[in-house]
């Protein structure tokens, strides 16, 4: 009994299965009938639980739609925390994104088919309510990143530079993510190249004259 640490009991395993079933059912229904065209009752029924139980796993309908995305964001933030202090903030952000994409396809596939996730991402961009919720969470992430950068660099919390840098970085990420969902069928190797190229544009973007 004092053997393996992470042997989850039956209860935990069941919870995880229910949660995954809810996510899968939800994303499939969304991609089939649209976000607004799908009711929570239908999702719950498809996952074989009551509506009440759905709301015990997700605080609202938005959350299940964004759940996979949330995982990717957590991975990225965790990767960022591991960057050595020697790296400049922008370099650390860049390295963290690329690192967080290692093995992400497998992590996604553990919950839903990758292709379904890509379709979901496109749906988020097109559904005002979801886009709003998504952007709010990104703003929270930006807050945490800026705070962490200020800490790393030993800056006072009022210094605006971390926030500005993070805003520019976040703008790039939003842009490349959109391209990724639109164009490719979700190939991450292609995304890497685009992202790197776009990040290289942050410097030039702030130069006064672009017409050279």
């Amino acid at each position: 009994m004092h053997a393996i640490e992470d042997a989850p009991g039956l209860r935990e395993r069941k919870k995880r299965r229910t949660r995954d079933a809810l996510i899968r059912s939800a994303l499939e229904l969304f991609s089939l009938k649209g976000y607004e065209g799908t009711t929570v009752d239908e999702i719950a029924a498809a996952a074989d639980v009551s509506q009440r139980t759905f709301f015990r796993y997700f605080t609202n309908k938005e959350e299940v739609a964004l759940s996979v995305q949330l995982m990717a964001e957590s991975r990225f933030f965790a990767a960022f925390l591991e960057r050595p202090a020697a790296e400049s903030p922008l370099t650390a952000l860049r390295t963290a994104v690329l690192a967080s994409w290692d093995g992400i396809e497998e992590a996604i596939e553990a919950v839903v088919p990758l292709e379904l996730h890509v379709r979901t991402y496109g749906m988020i961009q097109e559904t005002p309510q979801l886009l709003a919720a998504h952007l709010r969470r990104l703003a929270e992430l930006e807050d945490r990143l800026a705070a962490e950068i200020a800490r790393r660099e030993g800056l006072p919390p009022q210094d605006p530079r971390p926030r500005i840098l993070v805003a520019a970085f976040s703008g790039v990420m939003r842009e490349t993510s959109k391209l990724w969902a639109d164009a490719a069928g979700g190939d991450f190797s292609e995304l890497r190249g685009t992202t790197a190229a776009y990040l290289d544009q942050i410097g030039p973007a702030l130069a006064e004259n672009w017409r050279s």
Copy 2:
């Protein structure tokens, strides 16, 4: 008859009065009992119309909370469109913001007391649902700004630089707006100084080394 062009008929004047009454009632109730603690029925009752009529003026409850903010954004975008092509994008953005603040206090007071608007702005930052809706609209504004900049500069729409610049700029604006709502009681003259100072940080924020 063929006399003054913009003499609004009784019908139009009544609509405007109803709309303004709804906004005032809503913001007052929000600031009194909070956003979620206020029902649309209460707002409608306070403005002496039916709930059904409320939803003819605003597509949802969020919209009335953000209505004054929307006006400020429209002013800014209009001001930006008037900037001469000779100005660099960042300069044009900067000048447009400051210009759009001329006379804005009067424009706000025409609908609600300025102090109520300031409190509302604070509420938006604290209410997740409102913050989400607000950020989504800002993202739309960023899209339009980036498109306009690309046009001005004769860049192809895929060029990422306008978006990056706008993202950084928008980050500054979000930050200063927050400070404005928190600290001062809504004094715009102070806001001008802070904004200018923060905008000057955009360049340095992208420099590799901050510890100089």
